[in-house]
Symmetry: C2
Subunit: 351 residues, 2 copies
DNA sequence: CTGAAAGCGCTTACAG
DNA sequence: CTGAAAGCGCTTACAG
């Protein structure tokens, strides 16, 4: 990957006999019209004689003409690009979110530009790419976004919506799960099913949603008159999840119920429990978050907090739409309701 | 999602008091230089006095100037965009591939534009988006690409590489797994461990790689003097995988060994087998393909054919680089070697 | 090293 | 309905 000189930065023209693009002028010449006419022929609802349009369309087809989105974007200062600052795809939830978002954007004629947060400095500069792209909007689902960067975007009139976190900055909208409520629901179920040593297991690096889930859970446990342990992963991959779970579950004061920041973590806990011979749910209860497809697998039957990805995407689209219509509108945070899906990793509440 | 009028297509200007962008001219004025000078200041290795550059950089910082990638792309006819035509992210392998590709592209200063194949007509038109974007290259990992579309891209000088399939069209490169060899390896293991009724289970809609895997497998089984069953999923989601597996495994002539087109399918087969009380691997052997992280989970311990995603990405980058350097070079197909990773779903070869 | 000019491929008022 | 002109924000020869 070190010698991709050409692709990376070398002067293409030195090497490349790339065909020159067929432009609006070529079509105009072919059709015998001005090139404004060609532009109109490709603009919905422009005033142009049907016959002229037909002639132009024929010429365009003959020449394989395709309007340049770059040029159009430049002149309209609207690129039809939406920048998505994203993180690792190791958790299926993130991949499904991206897929849903890309689909929704396609519905309104926009496409997603991927900016992997990991390749940018952890100072919010990933988001600045959206500015460089003249993106119509940005969605941030990973990485850091500094107040300074956010401010810059707002100032430039770039609508940005944060997924999974809230930033205290005018003009930056957010959509997040009712995380604390999800944590509370998990805690309630543990308490009602007689769990005595509940614990929360969060991400290696605490995130906004992670913290809210943990807080909601621990607060509710405390309200129930118990105290919750609070743990954190040793690392981000499946192996680290498993090892952390092993450690926690084999400690002297091992919990008998674990609420995990994500389903992926919860599945690691289930596997560790099985390796240790802990029966689920009699000796250990487990609850996840997100309700990814794997949670429903027979192998796991994971009780989890359902976080409907389509709702998230719908809200993002609506926030974006609203802000485009009214750029100065107050920042708003949309909370997506979440609900327990009870499967096999928690005990029955028949008491 | 039906009323996103503003975001979708309405005239922004009617609503939007978007700040006008700060341009090269603003910086030039602020720094007291021509705007060619500003351009140079932002061009690596351009001839400009250090002091002038410093002054310009200061002015740029003061104004929060950021070069427009759109404008730059237009004039250089190089957008630094790479279009990825992608499919569903339901299979973790696809998400990991995308992540790896995005990372590699970032290394060379390019970003990925997502085009979900599903939202375009099944005639290869998704790929045409790459042309409209003035993309520097396109990678296709899903959907149909017609010869006609491919031809158009080649003609326009757009490098395209196909992932997971080969197209008989000059100028279109490919990277694919040694699928048939993978199938052969799976078959050999089944035969050497005494399996008597081997079967292949492919995707609902046959794909290029799918077919190669099945062919390689069935041919090798035949060479071993047996005949393989050949099945196909009833649908694309986890539920359909599970149901299809149930059906196949409870048939009168049920197989005692199943090679699956992907790990995801294989996991469904494992779950169906367990539901039916079939012991793995004594009563049923299972082999997958890809070696996704889930395959290594203790819950599955899936024997599989490892298809290293990083190798795939590396080859794609090299093919792209080569074609950019030499646009007319013959199309080439890179075959990525694959290898069995033996875990717990196949019997020991101690006989 | 620096500036003025032309041009990338379009759209958008403005006249006609 | 149609065309000529200006301009979107840059880069790139070309002179100086």
């Amino acid at each position: 990957m070190n010698d991709l000189k050409t692709f990376a930065k070398t002067d293409h023209n030195r090497y490349q006999a790339r065909m020159k693009r067929v432009t609006i002028k070529d079509v105009a010449r072919e059709a015998g019209v001005s090139y404004s006419a060609v532009s109109r022929a490709f603009t919905e609802g422009a005033s142009i004689a049907p016959e002229t349009r037909a002639r132009i369309e024929a010429a365009a087809k003959a020449l394989n003409y395709r309007p340049s989105l770059l040029a159009r974007g430049l002149v309209q200062s609207r690129s039809n690009i939406v920048t998505l600052v994203c993180g690792s795809m190791a958790d299926p939830f993130d991949a499904l979110f991206m897929e849903a978002l890309a689909g929704a954007m396609a519905q309104v004629g926009k496409r997603l530009m991927l900016v992997p947060a990991s390749v940018y400095a952890d100072d919010g500069s990933a988001l600045l790419q959206a500015l460089d792209d003249q993106a119509d909007a940005a969605v941030v689902s990973a990485g850091t976004v500094s107040l300074e960067t956010a401010e810059l975007c707002v100032h430039a009139g770039l609508p940005v919506v944060l997924a999974g976190r809230v930033l205290d900055q005018d003009g930056i909208d957010s959509v997040v799960a009712e995380n604390a409520d999800g944590g509370r629901q998990a805690a309630d179920l543990f308490l009602r099913t007689g769990c005595l040593r509940p614990a929360y297991l969060g991400q290696a690096r605490e995130t906004f949603s992670d913290r809210e889930r943990g807080d909601g859970f621990c607060d509710a446990v405390r309200s129930g008159g118990q105290v919750a342990q609070r743990h954190r992963l040793d690392g981000a991959d499946d192996a680290a999840i498993y090892q952390t779970a092993l450690r926690i579950l084999s400690a002297p004061d091992a919990p008998d119920a674990v609420f995990c920041a994500t389903d992926r973590i919860a599945i690691g806990v289930i596997e560790a429990a099985r390796a240790l011979g802990l029966a689920i749910p009699s000796a250990l209860s487990v609850i996840g978050f997100n309700n990814i497809p794997a949670a429903a697998r027979r192998s796991f039957g994971l009780t989890t907090v359902d976080y409907p990805v389509d709702r998230v995407v719908t809200e993002i689209m609506m926030l974006l739409d609203r802000r485009l219509g009214e750029p100065a509108v107050r920042a708003s945070t949309r909370r997506i309701p979440v609900g327990l899906v009870v499967r096999d990793t928690t005990r029955r509440v028949d008491a």
